[in-house]
């Protein structure tokens, strides 16, 4: 099985972007290409689950300087690629009634292409190139089609990530050079690289972790996120929260854990503390927000901390739960941002106090919002519960004391999400009394939400198939104790 099948996966949306941009036709080709990409992702499941593309390092020829064009697709990559492809499609369906220029649709396709590249790349250099390429379309999505503060937010987003990327790049260079000094071979293949020990190893780990931490984002590097999420257009927020934040955790899983197996265990308590701060601080910030989008943005900080806690535990339950939570958070928070977008289209406001008494004006909107909120809080039977519960089991097995942080985090998540839902949908009509303008969802919006909420319920009731897809790579990360 050649890598061309995987190349097609990330090139397909890029070609779509070019077609849309040069053809000056917005919606239809964009939709066609994103549907094609999503279906193609499903088609890849069979070969990927059999490990068909796993090419040994020696087999892929070096392209220059030991860099090779190496793609591979295992369960973890595939599930995140699915998330990317289907959320892009959801964004297109959600923006269907907007009169955007072709550039908008093209930017999302380019973004999708770069994200797929990030999840498929198995060469550190290639990974970095895709990692950076994600920034450019997102910069334009925020800056061109965002809200009133978009100029500032777009710059902030780009500069913050670039800051982290510099450390990621320097760390990668250091890692490769050290590996060459040890083995005599220039290679950028992630599977073949092994981090050095001692201070050098610690420095390299810290530099690369800093690059990933900006993206997750770990407190205190998170300050770009509320601005970017709030000022981005609704679909842009969906991609930001749904997929871009996952890149950081994915970097930990795909690169730092295999390359530094020993060091990552030794540093576990410290990283756990950082992730714990994320869980609590993000939740507390979310409680203080008056703007619906900012609230969901801060809740993402907390949820990503949760994913990281599970992954840090390096136990089977924790790794699986954390990775599953990555997908869950993508689906749930993506849905919430879509809903806020629908709400904003009608009322043109995002303040919690501006709305109220929507349950009788827009019952379906209320229902779906409530449903997604429950999934986000982690109600048993919905997807959030599975991921959080498994993560907590993992944390309990590795570092017992940190379970408390998880419990506090879950409690706090209810403490910000439910009052927000109440204020917007159930409480008395707001001062701005824009509730009168809010109509219920139309067929297009409702059917999209049925699918998304159905996915939440399905994963919540029967997560086994997904877990089986995720297992092979993740269980290889569990240290032999």
């Amino acid at each position: 099985m050649s890598q061309n099948w995987l190349t097609l996966f990330w090139v397909l949306p890029a070609v779509g972007g070019l077609v849309v941009l040069l053809g000056r036709q917005g919606r239809w080709p964009a939709l066609a290409f994103s549907v094609a990409t999503a279906l193609y992702g499903l088609f890849l499941l069979g070969p990927a689950s059999m490990g068909a593309w796993h090419v040994p390092a020696a087999a892929s020829p070096s392209w220059a300087f030991g860099i090779s064009y190496a793609l591979d697709c295992d369960g973890l990559s595939l599930s995140l690629c699915w998330l990317t492809a289907f959320l892009t499609l959801a964004c297109f369906i959600a923006s269907w009634n907007k009169d955007f220029s072709p550039g908008y649709w093209a930017a999302f396709l380019f973004l999708e292409s770069a994200l797929l590249g990030v999840f498929l790349a198995r060469d550190l250099f290639l990974f970095f190139v895709f990692w950076e390429a994600v920034l450019i379309p997102m910069f334009f999505i925020i800056g061109l089609w965002g809200m009133e503060g978009r100029r500032h937010a777009a710059m902030k987003f780009f500069l913050f990530t670039f800051f982290g990327s510099i450390f990621l790049l320097l760390g990668s260079i250091a890692l490769v050079t050290r590996a060459h000094a040890a083995t005599g071979v220039w290679t950028w293949d992630i599977a073949a690289l092994k981090g050095p020990g001692g201070t050098a190893g610690l420095a390299i780990f810290a530099a690369m972790a800093l690059g990933f931490a900006v993206k997750i984002p770990l407190v205190p590097l998170h300050t770009w996120l509320p601005d970017a999420h709030t000022e981005a257009p609704a679909a842009g927020s969906v991609m930001l929260a749904g997929v871009l934040l996952k890149m950081g955790v994915y970097g930990f899983l795909r690169i730092l854990w295999p390359v530094f197996p020993q060091l990552s265990l030794e540093l576990m308590p410290w990283l756990m503390i950082l992730a714990g701060i994320n869980v609590v601080y993000g939740a507390l910030c979310a409680m203080a927000q008056k703007d619906l989008k900012r609230l969901i943005a801060y809740s993402s900080v907390a949820h990503l901390g949760f994913c990281l806690l599970g992954i840090l535990s390096r136990t089977p339950e924790g790794l699986l739960g954390g990775s599953l939570q990555l997908l869950n958070h993508g689906i749930t928070t993506g849905t919430l941002f879509l809903l806020v977008g629908f709400l904003y289209d009608r009322g043109h406001r995002r303040g919690l106090d501006d709305y109220g008494e929507l349950y009788n004006r827009a019952p379906w909107l209320t229902f779906f919002f409530g449903f997604a909120t429950m999934a986000s809080v982690g109600l048993p039977g919905l997807n959030g519960f599975v991921g959080e519960f498994m993560s907590l089991i993992g944390v309990a097995r590795a570092m017992r004391g940190f379970v408390l942080i998880g419990v506090v985090g879950v409690t706090l998540s209810a403490a910000y999400a439910l009052p927000a839902f109440q204020a917007v949908f159930l409480g008395p009509a707001g001062k701005a009394s824009v509730s009168g303008k809010v109509t219920d969802l139309d067929v297009r919006e409702a059917s999209l939400l049925w699918v998304l909420c159905g996915a939440m319920l399905a994963i919540g009731l029967y997560p086994a198939p997904l877990l089986r897809i995720l297992e092979p790579f993740l269980l290889g990360l569990v240290p032999v104790r």
Partner: protein
């Protein structure tokens, strides 16, 4: 290889350029009677001479040594860069008479001499031969301040020449020869430091950059573009030739000077409102990366891979910076304010400039990224960790204005009235081609890898 072929590779470019310059001047003298100089013919002759020199510099791929001359891979590759950098200038310039093309060729002869010099005296002659036509070219620019800038350039440049001479004298007193060989003792290192200061002056390194922004701003954009690419390539080569002689102290300072140059240029560029001045400071910042590459090359015992990184950086910079300056010429814009809202007014031009700026900023997958990556890598291999970190932060600062200009173009409303864009198609196509190359080169760094592997 036969001696004839060697001589052809070594002296052929200089001979071709000299012949071209004489032919250009002859055409001009013949035309004075007719009161009308055929500019098209003059430019064609000059371009032909440069192309011939370019072809000849590919003749001798292996090292040659002669008493006053020597040719090696680094010199030959840099020669390709500055010769190629002159082509767009010659193509797009509007000379009025035969003098400017002849001056460009004269400056190129000096650069070719630097590339082929095997001796300090030849280096010095090359340096002066490169600089004097440059002063005159600045003086002939259209800007009202051109003459003032040229005088400033001339005095500062003369001081640099004097520094070089003093350094040469010290070197001679220590080594008793003017060969390109290390001179022993404090005297030798001090002489080297003075000569390196002259090279850094030409490169525009902080704090010897004070002349550069004024000169770039007062020059015609295409000329400033040539200064930022061709002249910098020659100056980087001069720096490399000298840094290769160092025994230690100078090489310890050079990386820090590079980091300072990167950060200072980027920080000052942030505050500029006039585009040509902004690009001048940005070129100072880029000179810092070239210095870093030279320092890494010298500290690793003049490794071929570091030479490759320097070559790739300058090759990429040729497209990015040359393209940006030519864009200024083609678009006829001069201030950042005029960029606001350009994405809607002139979408094609804004797109081309955005690509060039993102390349200059070093975002993947452009040539700017590949170039910075190679320099970082070589600097790491040479163990320059702290300067490297500062250089990385400099790249972050530079995003503030590169990306800031992209933001102005696309995310802002227009604030000033623009005159209609010039209609000429060919120059616009040239700028677009440069921008496309600035991206494609980024996808093909193995080109330089292959060049160097083939040469080893």
């Amino acid at each position: 290889m036969s001696p004839l072929i060697s001589a052809l590779g070594l002296l052929g470019p200089m001979a071709a350029l000299s012949a071209g310059a004489l032919a250009v001047l002859a055409v001009g003298m013949g035309a004075t009677a007719a009161r009308h100089v055929p500019c098209g013919l003059v430019k064609a002759l000059a371009a032909a001479a440069v192309l011939l020199a370019l072809a000849l510099s590919c003749v001798a791929p292996e090292a040659v040594r002669a008493p006053l001359f020597r040719l090696d891979l680094l010199g030959g590759s840099m020669q390709m860069v500055f010769l190629a950098a002159a082509l767009p200038l010659i193509y797009i310039m509007d000379p009025g008479d035969e003098v400017p093309p002849a001056l460009v060729l004269g400056s190129l002869i000096g650069m070719a001499l630097i590339a082929a010099a095997g001796n300090l005296l030849a280096l010095f002659i090359g340096l002066e031969l490169m600089s004097v036509p440059a002063y005159l070219l600045v003086a002939r620019s259209r800007c009202p301040q051109a003459l003032e800038a040229a005088v400033k350039y001339f005095f500062a440049g003369s001081a640099a020449g004097a520094l070089f001479l003093m350094g040469m004298a010290l070197h001679f007193s220590a080594a008793r020869s003017l060969d390109l060989a290390p001179a022993p003792g404090v005297m030798g290192e001090a002489g080297l430091a003075l000569m390196i200061a002259a090279a850094l002056f030409k490169l525009g390194a902080v704090p010897l950059h004070f002349w550069l922004p004024d000169v770039y701003e007062a020059s015609d954009p295409e000329l400033a573009g040539f200064f930022s690419t061709g002249l910098k390539a020659a100056a980087a080569l001069l720096l490399a030739r000298l840094a290769g002689l160092s025994q230690g102290p100078v090489l310890a300072v050079l990386p820090w000077a590079a980091a300072l140059t990167i950060l200072f240029g980027a920080a000052v560029a942030l505050r500029q409102q006039r585009l040509q001045r902004l690009l001048a400071y940005s070129s100072i910042s880029h000179a810092g990366y070239m210095m870093l590459a030279v320092a890494a090359w010298a500290r690793q015992g003049q490794s071929a891979s570091a030479a490759g990184a320097l070559f790739f950086y300058l090759g990429a910079y040729l497209f990015m910076s040359g393209g940006t300056f030519l864009w200024l010429k083609v678009s006829d814009l001069s201030s950042r304010e005029q960029l606001k809202g350009l994405g809607r007014r002139r979408p094609a031009q804004a797109m081309v400039l955005s690509v060039l700026l993102l390349a200059l900023a070093g975002t993947p997958p452009t040539a700017g990224f590949a170039a910075k990556f190679l320099v970082f890598w070589e600097a790491f291999k040479a163990g320059l960790y702290a300067p490297l970190l500062l250089a990385g932060l400099g790249a972050l600062v530079s995003l503030g204005y590169y990306l800031g200009m992209v933001r102005d173009m696309y995310f802002d409303e227009p604030v000033v009235e623009l005159a209609a864009a010039p209609e000429a198609l060919a120059p616009r196509a040239l700028v677009t081609a440069l921008a496309v190359c600035a991206v494609l080169l980024g996808l093909m760094p193995w080109l330089v890898d292959g060049l160097w592997a083939g040469a080893r």
